[in-house]
Amino acid sequence: MADTVAIPQVQPVQPALRFLRIIPGVLLLAAIGYAGKLLEQNVGGYAKAHRWVFPNIEYVLWAILLGLLISNTVGVPEIFRTGVATYEFWLKAGIVLLGSRFLLGDILKLGGVSLLLVAIEIAGAIAFMTLLGRLFKLKPKLTTLLAVGSAVCGVSAIIATKGAIDADDEDSSFSIAAILALGALALFTFPLIGHYLHLGDRAYGIWAGLAVDNTAEATAAGALYSDAAGKLAVLVKSTRNAMIGFVVLAYAIYWASQGQAKVVGNKAAFLWQKFPKFILGFLLISVLATYQFFNKEQVGALANLSRWAFLLTFAGVGLRTNFRDMRKQGLRPFAVGAIGEVVIAVFTLGLVIGAEKLFGF
């Protein structure tokens, strides 16, 4: 018998083939998003014409509901999955284009207030989630992942921290599932609470940006309330995202000091690697809009392009949320996440109401 063992050769996927693979899923995102838009336009009118009592449901919610329906009944067939996963790409491209609707002065004014609120939220959320993890006797690294996920920015923060602190795959799956499930709940509860408390667009947008974890869900939760609230939710959420590198670096240094993670060599390079680059694109477009590089019509066109990109994102949020998969992950991390999220939501609501009285935004 030969001594050598044949190792199967893995052929690299050609870029053209990779591009072709995403097309069916992107078309599915576009079809669901557009169907959401058509339903918004037609269902309300039809109900009114027939004098039915029917709530006015916006395209954002229709797109998410259609995606949820497909994902939790027939499931997303394999051929569409690569393209559906591009919803994060559309989200980030949409945020960059949304920069055209912000003047630099607004960003500096609102960004300053939101930076202060974000710093308080991150410190409070990390402290509370760490305490809760200890009370529920969760593994320390799982607690770290849940704390980062709920304090900073959901799934991206968990993935970034997992690599930096050498956490288990199982722990990161637990945390991601908990954060996604809670994000899906926030989508439906936040607008209801906002309307119940008669929050203004600004206060609600800042609250959604501070308290909803994943960027896609925060954007959708804001847009479900109003266009203005959606803009602010994106701005505040982006400020939270900008902090990701600092929080992950702090945890990496802590776990390295415990001898349970690699030592971080070049800290500046680490921060740059973790920094979400779409924030720089958002700021660049905003600077160009402020100095009138685009005329009024062009700003309108860019805003519409941003809306189309978000439409694909909202369809993707529904399609990637599968309640059966989430149930498999177990109850304890979910319970810690849920208690934490409720407390963070109440805490940030208090912060926003206090800041509104203080700064009058």
Partner: protein, 43 residues
Amino acid sequence: MSTPENDVQGKKPWRLSLDSWAVVVALLAALLVRAGVFKHIPW
């Protein structure tokens, strides 16, 4: 000890992150709108 051969094998091909691609595509779209290639984008 690493040999030059190992170093070559260990090098990953340089790739843009998803974030950076999103920025590149969005800026390109903004430039096309600015240049008048896309005059009106309906909603």
